[in-house]
Amino acid sequence: MGRKSTLKISGLVLIALILLASSSVLAQQQVRVFINGIDLTTEMKPYLVNNSVMVSARAFAKTLGAEIKWFAAIKTLQLNKANTLIKLMENNPFIQINDQTIRSNNTLVLKNGQAFLPLQEVAGGFGYLFQRSGNSVYIIKPESLVEEVSWQRGGQQLVIKMNKISPYRISSSADSKQIILEIDKTALAEDFKDNISNRNFYLRIEEVANLARLRLIINGKYKIPFQRDYGIEEDNNNLVINFLPGIKEIEWIDDRLEIRANGEFQKPEVFLLHNPRRMVIDIADLMLKNFDLILPENDWIKDIRVSQFKYDPVILRVVLELHPERYLELEPDSPAKSLIIKAGAITQLDDLAYYNRKVVFSTDHPIVPDIFTLENPERLVINLLNTVRGKNCPDLLKIDEELVRGIRSSRFNDETVRIVVDLNKYSGYDWRRKQLADGRYQHIIALENEIERFQLLDKEIRTDLNIAFSAVTDYEIKKLASPDRLVIDLKGMVNNIAESNLPAPAGLVKDLRMSQLSHDPPVTRLVLEMDGYFNYQLYSVNPGKEIGLSLERGYLSERGETIIIDPGHGGFDPGAIGFTGLQEKEINLTVAKKVRDLLTEAGYDVVLTREDDIFISLKERVDLANQINGRLFISIHANAAHDRYSEGTETYFAPAKMNNSGLLADLIQQELLAALKRVDRGVKKRDLYVIKYTNMAAVLLELAFVSNPHEETLLESDLFREKAALAIFKGIERYIKETE
């Protein structure tokens, strides 16, 4: 018993000692404070309490340009800037920010006659963003403000109105009823308006701890039809998320049924079934939502059922259970966002004929045939609801020409006639209807429109796309980002190219796919996945029989101003070491400072990741660069290999990044080769840490080999270093001229 408790006690003592030791280590840990990208660690005298950063109140106020007042009697510090007033009292956990009071674990501390305040709370009170990465904290002025979040187009679009767009992304959510949008370096505007929640969706906004990032979480009542290809768009300063339209109302009124949605939708597929006798209406890309059903007693429809028949692709199914011998038909000219199904009658089909690649027939009512293509064998199917065959409608019209073998017509069921056009090869089609002099309606289905040629050519500096059609085609081209892609919708076109016959990806095109976006009207969608940011130029008319466009790597507009120079290694990490003991870290820092001086003199804003012989991790280098939102990142190194014979100059860029790093690498490598006259080892693509994770155009330079005795002597000489720095400077200048 006695021994056990002694053990316990000594255990507790040990734990207490460990805690003490670790807390004192924490207190001694160097915290670095960056305000708007500038390292103000020395001025701010930061230290940690409860893992919270405390800084000198006076230095902080000075940096922000806030007025500071000290009321000794009540031990209260007051900070005042523009229309923000913050009051802190010693030993009082409440911080007053204007007319709000927040409770904080950390408050005003007086130490050696100096006041220290909790940085996160106070900076936040002044509207600054707080980002922390390890022991580096960053106070950033928001780059953008979110002003309003609202539904547009009747709830089909979510619009995030900002004063300026800062980097954003849709992050994946395991919950299919949820969308998460993250926006960096942004804050809510003072008069932010949330006009968003309705009966199908609600929105939550949260700040991501330590990341200066706002997270918008949209929760839906149903699975959210967030569309990949039309996911998010930039529209001036707005971010726009598009949703599919949803059903709003179904109402029987004056002998007709109206199906209304909150957005435009495609023409449905309609078919009749028996036992019980019913009409099935499948509407693509329409979502089931809460909707009103108004179905008074009537002679046509007994009952209506609505379901989300499919999610991929999205199809809404409406089933109308019909009374006997009552006919319903689609109103061909339904107003936008709605579908009208009206009382109809049995229609007679007459005079089925074929000429000039056209299938022609007439009906005594203005019906709309349901037309679609089938393959194996290729055929075009025309379904006519509420129709019976009349005169001149043989079971088979033999044609036997290049495109069409024959046309069959048959009674599909009591109320549907089906016309099948047997094709020798695929064909697109175009349906038109006109009224004849005798009051009947003539239907003309022209068989045309297929893709005759499709080429993708890599022309080194650009990639050319060429598509030719058999008929005049209307098309729409959209350029989309994240990921970068070009979408071409070909109207009236049925996809006639097998996947295996698509051209191979080439040049800037990483991947391509073609699909039938819709059948009625037929629209074929071509999506080109690009390997990065790009621009395109169209050199054909629209509509036309050809699309010719050229794709070029685009230059991302670089928002940042600062050029970041990163001298590799440092502190306990010497980098490579030469035979005479020359250390890489020293070469890197000296050349980096020379580059900085040249750039500063030319009027550029430059930051070095290290100014002294200190160690900083690769992550800290990247964090600093991203924090400052630099324009360019240039990492300077000297190379090494096992063998002393290895020699030369090389430059790296990270291939996966969406910016102009490749161009920057090319230009600097050219300049270095011209100036240093070393062996050209080339511009190399590799995901090295600092160039992979920095958000801006970034390169890593290996000037020459420290491990090569001759190059070591060169690297040691001041003249060689001057030449290297000047070459890097010239490369940067050329790059800036080319991209501006």
Binding site: H637, A641, S646, R681, K685
Partner: protein, 172 residues
């Protein structure tokens, strides 16, 4: 006495034969178990531009580990350079869901000569040597059992690496 001695000697000789015989037999058996397999081991070219393979026959009893030992031992051909520094030991080797986890002692970083080129060739000589075996698609390098940010200050070692065929010297 004499007879006794003779008997003792005979017994000794018999025992000696028995031991020798069983020894030979065992040797025979072990040789049968030692099946050799031809593998590729990737080293750096002397200009440090590429990786080039040497063929080795290694014992299949611990195929992956024996292949790595050949890489650690360095090239036989004088036109190639070693990629693994002095004093490096492979502490552990496991394959999990297509990723080989290779745990080296810290000598791999501490004795490394550095350079983006040097580091790249070291890492990818390991990656290419390991991924020649079809079950291995990626390689994760650990030092003393832990993931590290980098080996020599350039490459990102936090995530597993796949082979990069641009580094393999094409036959002339």
């Amino acid at each position: 006495m004499k007879i006794k001695n003779k008997l003792v000697i005979t017994v000794f000789i018999l025992i000696a034969f028995a031991i020798a015989f069983s020894f030979f037999q065992r040797n025979d058996r072990t040789e049968k178990q030692e099946e050799l397999e031809k593998v590729l081991v990737f080293f750096a070219t002397r200009d440090a531009m590429y990786l080039e393979a040497e063929e080795r026959a290694v014992n299949t009893s611990a195929l992956y580990r024996n292949t790595m030992e050949e890489l650690i031992n360095g090239p036989a051909n004088s036109t190639l350079s070693p990629t693994i520094p002095e004093g490096v030991k492979l502490l552990n080797l496991e394959v999990e869901a297509g990723t080989a986890l290779l745990d080296f002692n810290r000598a791999l970083a501490e004795n490394h000569w550095g350079g983006s080129t040097g580091e790249t060739l070291t890492i990818y000589s390991i990656v290419h040597t390991m991924t020649q075996f079809p079950p291995i698609k990626k390689v994760q390098i650990l030092l003393d059992g832990k993931k590290v940010e980098t080996l020599a200050g350039h490459m990102d070692l936090l995530a597993p690496l796949e082979p990069d065929h641009h580094l393999i010297k094409k036959p002339q």
